[in-house]
Each structure stands twice: as structure tokens, then as C-alpha cells.
Amino acid sequence: MSQSVLKLSQNDLSRERKESDSALPISEAAWSLKTRALTEMVYIDEVDVDHEGIAEMMLDESSIAQVARPGTSLRLPGTSQGGGPSPAVRPMTQSGRPITGFVRPSTQSGRPGTMEQAIKTPRTAHTARPVTSSSGRFVRLGTASMLTNLDGPFINLSRLNLTKYAQKPNMSKTLFEYIFHHENDVKNALDFAALATEHAQFKDWWWKVQLGKCYYRLGLHREAEKQFRSALNHQEMVDTYLYLAKVYQRLDQPITALNLFKQGLDHFPGEATLLTGIARIHEEMNNITSATEYYKDVLKQDNTHVEAIACIGSNHFYTDQSEIALRFYRRLLQMGVYNCQLYNNLGLCCFYAQQYDMTLSSFERALALVSSDEEQADVWYNLGHVAVGIGDLTLAYQCFKLALAFNNDHAEAYNNLAVLELRKGRIEQSKAFLQTAASLAPHIYEPHYNLATLAEKIGDLQSSYAAAQKAEDAFPEHVDTQQILKSLRQHFAEL
């Protein structure tokens, strides 16, 4: 009797457990769906994102020598061989590299030399350098979680039992992604991933990759490297190669990254993302010819690859082959890319390829599609160039003035306005514009060279010499600067 009672009660218990078990998967599924939806709202592919803050840039712990050997560093681009067009033909960025055809969040838009310059760089999504990697952009992204739900966060991390969820394979991966991307809580994510890896007995490559990502975010690059390497031992995946290469790039070891990519290509022959990675490294090291070669390989694999087309197009434009550049940009148009930058580039290529019918309508489209003041300033600046080309200097003057109206810090517009003012004979105005341009953008040589010329003409040899030296720093191979310096030195020697 007592046994049958026991059996009955056991059956009851098991029936209850079965009922609650059947309810569990449904609620689990709903929870999983909501979590994944919230994560997807803010999900960004980690391979593309750069987390380097100013502090990490200036106080580099992983360097082993004071100065890198030429051709082995991403931070000293000018020292490698096989460069492309000189600054006489191609505009330069703050870091001494020529401007590229394509920009990503991790494109080094500027590597300032001093702390002052570092703080002066503007803080938008594409030129931002957060002060440390834990502030700036990621605080903004973390607020996404606070903004989505005013009643409080969907998942309260401080009260979450991480160990329990780490052992449930159905929910652990979703939860990890939520913590990492939506909440931006890297430390908790790291703990969670460590627990999950333990539970999987260190055999699951996915968790090792996530551990690696967390270490990378926290700046522990060597640990990240170990995790990614061990993940590769378990399972070869393209993403793992990309993450590992990112670690090597952050450690400023481009050659190691290149070797890694080549190893990856052995396992995944013809993989477009690996080829793109190689091309990007070559571009960052200023090897424009090798970069173009690899971008062409990318296009053989995937001929709608926007980055490759844009970069090859811009290289052709700056090597005086505007017709070929035009073909590349028209291909982008065929593919359906429809934004201000493309139409601006089309306009410029049309003009320099002497297809004057399309030039102005392309620029009109570009102006209609602008999304920010800086873009508008750039389009007006290029229109000013077109005006100079057709000889309409009044129009050119107005265009450069408009460019300045939209972006008060547009150094190139100031420089070109100065040239036009000098043609009108207004020397003081020209000098003022040149000084503004030189102070706004000390990395471009034109304002310094122009100041040197102007000062020499009016007889102010001291400032002419100072300006010529700055021009030489920016562009050492410029013949005219050398001539000015030579004549000035002769003059001073005679005194």
C-alpha cells in the first residue's frame, strides 16, 4: 500500500515535472527570440570595429623597440617602399597616408603626434578617437540598452546567475551575445564565456573565439591571440583568422598579420575577406601597387565588392587615369550604390575625363544627397576645382566660400581661396587665408609652400624660410620647395 502510494506520488511528481518541462521550452524560445531581437538592433560585426582610444595610442605597452624598422610598422607609413602618387598629386590625411577610396570604422583617419592634437580631433562616428576605449563610442552604444526600455533593463545582469545559464547550451550563446553587444558589459561577458568554456570542457571553438573577443576589448592582446590560435586548432574558420589578424594589427605587426592571411588562404583558397584584409594592410603601409593587385584579386572572386572597386577607382584617378576610374565608379552606380560620395566622385572623374555633359548633373545629384555639413563643404570644394578648370574664377571664388560656410575648418578651401586672392592682388588677405590653412592642417604641404613663396616675394625671408621648412617636412621630395630653400640659404650665407 505504502509502495503504491509512493509510486503514485512519484508519478505525480514526474507528471508535474513533465508539464513544467513542456512549458519551459516555449518560454525559453520566447525569451531567446526577444534577446536576439534586442541584440540584432545594435549588432555590429566586431571584425570591422576599432576600439583604440587616445590613451592606448599614446601610451603603447606592446612596442619592443623605440623605432620600427622600415616597412614593418603600420604607424610609420612613409618608410615603406613602393608608394603611389606623391602628395603633389594626391591629398594626404593627418597620418601621412594618402586618402583612400573607402573608409571603415577602423580606418586610421589620423594618428596625431601629440596629446593636444589627439584631443582636438572631432568626435563623430567616423573620425572619433575616444579618450580611452572604455569611454566614448561604447558608452553611447551601451545607452542603447537603457533607451530601449524605460522601465529598466530586460535582463538585470547583477542578479543573473551566470553559472546556471552557462550550463544551458540553448540559452548561453544568445545570452552571451546580448551581454557583449547590447549591454556592452565586457567583464561580465568574459566571466560568462569562461564558465561556458569550462562547461564545454575547452573543446568548443565558438566560446574560445568569444573569449578572444572579450580579451581584445579589454586590451589584453596576447591572451586574445592565444584564444584565437587555440580556436583555430579546433576548427578552421574564416572569422577566426580575421579576428586574429586584427589582434596582430593592433600589436603593430603587419607582417605577421600578412603571413596569417596567407596561411588562411591556404585553407580557404580565394576567400574574398582574407584577400581584402591583405589589401587593407598593404594600403595602410602605403604599398599602393600591392594593394591594388590584391583588390583586383578580390574582384576576380567577387565583382560586386564595393571596397575594392572604390579603392581601385581612386587609385586610377590619382594616377591620371580618370577614364578608367570613371568606369569603376559607373560600375558602383550600376550596382545600385546611391549616395553623395559616389556622385561627387563621378562628377570629378567625368570632368577630368573630359565628359563635360555629365559633370554638373552628377554634382547636382551629389548636393541633393548630402547628409552632413562636412560632405556639403567637400562637394562645393570640388565644384570650385571644376570652376577653376573652366576658367570661371568668380564661380570658383563663390564655391570655395560656400565650402567654408559649411565647414569652417576646411583647410584646402582656405588654401585655394588664398591663391585666388593673390591673383586679384590682395596680398594681406591671401596671407591671412594661408596662415589659417597652415594652422588647421599642418600635414599638407601646399599652404606652407604657398606661404614661403608669398613671403619671399614680399621680402619677408625669415618667415619664408620657416614656412619652407614646414613644407619640406610634409613633402620632402617637392622640387620647388628645395629650390626655395636653396636660394634662401645662399642669400643668408651671403649676409
Partner: protein, 69 residues
Amino acid sequence: MPEVKSIFREVLPKQGQLSMEDVPTMVLCKPKLLPLKSVTLEKLEKMQLEAQEVIKQQEMALKEQEKVQ
């Protein structure tokens, strides 16, 4: 710059040329091709704009509440 370099020989007349002077002229900054943005970058910028707008709206709502009070 064209990749094939050909050698041009200058033909300078010996008679009739009085003097030659290389005058340093001003240099214009070059036309700027605008780089295209990647999908990630556009998404980042969009998220940033949206977050800013939401914050602005919240601030407006707070201000109105204060005015009412």
C-alpha cells in the same frame, strides 16, 4: 603619373632667347575624392544619430514637465 617613362629631349633655341626664369607659383590643393563608407560605419552613424534624437526628445519632455510644474 604615366608608368612608361619616355625620354624627351628639350629643344632650346640658342639664338633669340634672352633669359629664362623659373618663377615659383602658388600651388592649389588637389581635388578630393570622397571615400565611400562601409555598411558597419553607416550603421554606427545611424545608431549614434538615433540615440542623440531619443535623448533630445527625452530632454524636451523633461523641460515641458518642468514648465507645467
